[in-house]
């Protein structure tokens, strides 16, 4: 049972997080920041595009370095 649970967790982690945990963590942080800005009645639509402009190059740099 414990082994089955561990392998189910590993598959879920692979499926959702994938090769680079930084991407998943960045997306969650970006959405949380967007939510916080919106709650404070500040325009927040620009935040995710700006985050992508940073997150994609950072993740690519990590991948290239690893290879």
């Amino acid at each position: 049972m414990a082994r089955w649970l561990r392998s189910a967790l590993a598959v879920s982690y692979d499926f959702v997080v994938g090769d680079d945990w930084v991407v998943a963590a960045g997306v969650v942080a970006g959405l949380a920041a967007t939510w916080a800005l919106s709650r404070a009645s500040v325009a927040a639509w620009w935040l995710l595009p700006v985050l992508l402009a940073v997150l994609i190059p950072v993740s690519l740099r990590r991948a290239v370095r690893r290879h």
Partner: protein, 271 residues
């Protein structure tokens, strides 16, 4: 109208990619083992998918739209960035191209090595299981794409038509050639799908978190080309880095030995 076309194109292309992978597995099971068992596996998987759609469809549309957009937006954005990241690495030469031909050969070799056993409609359980698993897993991804894209854009019908069109086109092509669909530019399509998923994920994720886009749905028509241009620019930059296509070509020319192994195939390959 523009957003409807973007929805159709995103769902169609994403489903074509999944359908090509499912078709490759069914063709390998049929060719290497037994066509009747592979067809039974395919039919059983389609029946299982129909049951899942009947159960999940109403459940997805019952979830509040903001919560759905936040969760689906976050997942699509993470998936989209993973696809886009791999597509940029492949296009710039930092990762091997996805090759449906070699995947097919591996599947055929591994299938041929297994002993056969079965009866009646399923003379070969291995071929049945291989086709069933392949179609069910890829089909689940198609169902997820159709239901979430459709529910978010209030047009499950259009998303379903796009998904069905993709599956029919790929299945017909697969049946016609009875070989892996090597000419489908899968790497290029994965690049486009990565851009689409990232754009839709950004749009829905931000809306789900409470933000309002200037121009509402029309913002997608700016987001998609902007992400595409950014991705193409990143490919150009990465190609110049050590290990990239342009750097490898230059090194090849400098050594006077022509193009290094694999680089020409990558440059002129499918994607």
């Amino acid at each position: 109208m523009g957003a409807a076309w973007a929805l159709f194109a995103a769902v169609f292309l994403a489903c074509v990619v999944e359908a090509v992978e499912a078709t490759t597995i069914v063709l390998a099971a049929g060719t290497a083992r037994d066509w009747r068992s592979a067809t039974s596996g395919l039919t059983a998987a389609l029946a299982a998918l129909a049951v899942i759609v009947a159960v999940l469809g109403p459940a997805v549309s019952a979830i509040p739209l903001h919560a759905l957009r936040l969760v689906v937006g976050a997942l699509l954005l993470i998936f989209g960035l993973q696809w886009l990241r791999k597509a940029i690495l492949r296009a710039s030469g930092h990762k091997a191209l996805h090759d449906e031909d070699s995947i097919y050969r591996e599947q055929v070799e591994s299938a041929a090595a297994q002993p056969a056993s079965g009866t009646g409609l399923v003379p070969d359980w291995f071929a049945f299981t291989l086709a069933f698993k392949g179609v069910l897993l890829e089909g689940l991804e198609v169902v997820f794409i159709v239901l979430t894209f459709g529910a978010n854009q209030h047009d499950v019908g259009l998303a379903a038509i796009a998904g069905i069109c993709a599956a029919v086109v790929v299945a017909a092509a697969g049946l016609a050639v009875r070989k892996p669909l090597a000419r489908v530019p899968e790497n290029t399509m994965k690049f486009i799908v990565g851009i689409m998923l990232t754009a839709f994920g950004t749009f829905w994720g931000a809306e789900g978190a409470g933000a309002s886009w200037p121009g509402s749905d029309a913002a997608l028509l700016v987001l998609i080309p902007a992400i595409a241009l950014f991705a193409v620019a990143l490919v150009a930059v990465l190609r110049r880095l050590p290990g990239g296509l342009a750097a490898a070509r230059q090194a090849g020319r400098g050594a006077g030995a022509g193009s290094p192994a694999g680089v020409d195939a990558a440059a002129g390959g499918r994607g």
